[in-house]
Symmetry: C2
Subunit: 301 residues, 2 copies
């Protein structure tokens, strides 16, 4: 029988990688033979987290043919590893678009991170959580909720983080800021990578739309590179044949995003009731791709 991997989405973020490792640990405690995996290179935020808690990068899987997967932190085809494979389970916190020919275990909760859901499963099953696993779970929560500032954050995320921190014993805000700072390191990183490293592709009513997001503690300096941003977006859009490329530069402290848009400017502008004819607009209070940007775009397309 093919090996079973626990795997997160393409362009993996900290929640995806930490979910894959911690849910593998959970399943092993329940007697299941599984391995964590990843679809792409980890980002610098995740690298910092894995080093801090003493974990290696999970195995890289580029094509899922003849394997069996447990999906964490994603469910839609566009976010999944390519190939022809069996999906055994899904643990997620995103909008849903999935079909299977057999009943499988699915747990999707409208909360801030997949790591919150996995931590709940440890607690519900009264399983021991080692200190480093608690650290990974907390890192996933802090990353996806932007240190509890994202509007996707729920009381459950905070409550679970508090319980986990009785084990991990971290300064949560400091750890979160340090993570975000590492993730926001943009020195020596190409503009193309900055736009794409946290990007997801969507099919909105037949239109191929890519939405990238860059979270920075302070966006001012980065935004002076406006021309380089547009130039790079233009070449990405052409290379990948996107109908629209959207790039949100999120200011974690100001709690808002500067949106860059190339293609479908009128529709995207309408989604946020703003004028995007210049290709750029500041959106007060917009911090979450999942909860704010994607639903708004889905409505207008």
């Amino acid at each position: 029988m093919a090996e079973t991997y626990v795997i997160g989405h393409k362009n993996p973020d900290t929640d995806s990688i930490c979910s894959a490792i911690t849910y593998s640990h959970f399943l092993k405690l329940n007697g299941r033979e599984v391995k964590p995996a990843r679809v792409g290179e980890i980002n610098s935020e995740t690298k910092f987290v894995l080093e801090k808690f003493g974990y290696e990068k999970p195995e890289l899987i580029e094509d899922g043919t003849r394997k069996r997967f447990i999906l964490v932190d994603h469910n839609e085809e566009g976010q999944r590893v390519s190939g022809d494979y069996e999906i055994l389970e899904i643990i997620d916190h995103h909008k849903f678009d999935f079909s299977s020919s057999n009943p499988i275990f699915i747990l999707n909760k409208p909360i801030g991170s997949t790591c919150t859901i996995i931590a709940e499963m440890f607690f519900e099953n009264e399983l021991d959580i080692p200190k480093d696993i608690a650290g990974l779970l907390l890192s996933g929560i802090l990353s996806d909720t932007v240190i509890f500032k994202s509007p996707t954050t729920t009381e459950k995320d905070k409550e679970i983080a508090e319980r986990l921190n009785k084990i991990a014993d971290l300064n949560l805000v400091e750890h979160g800021k340090e993570m975000k700072k590492k993730g926001a390191e943009i020195e020596g990183v190409s503009m193309k990578e900055l736009i794409l490293r946290d990007s997801k592709e969507y099919d909105f009513n037949g239109k191929k739309v890519c939405i990238g997001q860059l979270e920075l503690v302070d966006t001012e300096e980065f935004l002076t590179r406006k021309e380089k941003i547009f130039e790079t977006m233009k070449s990405i859009k052409e290379e990948k044949s996107y109908d629209s490329l959207v790039f949100a530069v999120t200011d974690v402290m100001k709690e808002g995003s500067t949106l860059f848009c190339l293609g479908e400017e009128e529709n995207v502008g309408k989604a946020f009731e703003t004028d995007l004819s210049s290709g750029k607009a500041y959106l007060e209070g917009v911090m979450s791709r999942k909860k704010q940007i994607v639903p708004a775009l889905e409505k207008v397309f």
Copy 2:
């Protein structure tokens, strides 16, 4: 704000109706304002169960426009009430085919009945289960697992039934047999109703296929009405423009089904490695539409 209803699938069975009532009770204990509902007329098995435990039929909903629904025991569009409405949650144990534009709570488990999942939620949350609610939950489990004989039955279903019966104090096999006997009452019921009352429509690669099932404690006498069965199937197939109409007459005691098939006989026969050119074949060990008939047909279509 529109009212929120907890609702099961079209052609409701005992698991759907008991899930709607018991999950409404669960949510009310958690401070949520919801009502149980049903999409169609209840069958005689369910009628017996509701009378036994002192419950009214839930409210009938024929069109879901401008309502909000929590789906139990189904998720696919073909099984849902028609209309344009918001889906807030899904608790189910079937194969999946669902998409949403927002993250919602989804819990799908590959086990014998939705009532098992709901009972687990009561236990996990340490909520009090009244005796009559335990009776409904047990009835849903016994009905969907055919008194633990269906191959969809898991250890979890048996374990939860045992815990529930500490409250309900029923003779499970006797209660299950009595339910099935009531459900199998075919005197005075038209052949059309017998074929359709537990039927579901599927889209298999563009083919419109309807699969009806009739569970009987003894099928011998019923099967002598072969000509009437084919004649009625023919008129249903024409009226509803099905590409194929499949009717499984399941013998609960012999643990097998006689399959009648009109349209696509070659494909359907291939699915069960049998010759269906006469439109009829006995399938040893086949008892579950969900776990045996649907996946087999999906593969060949």
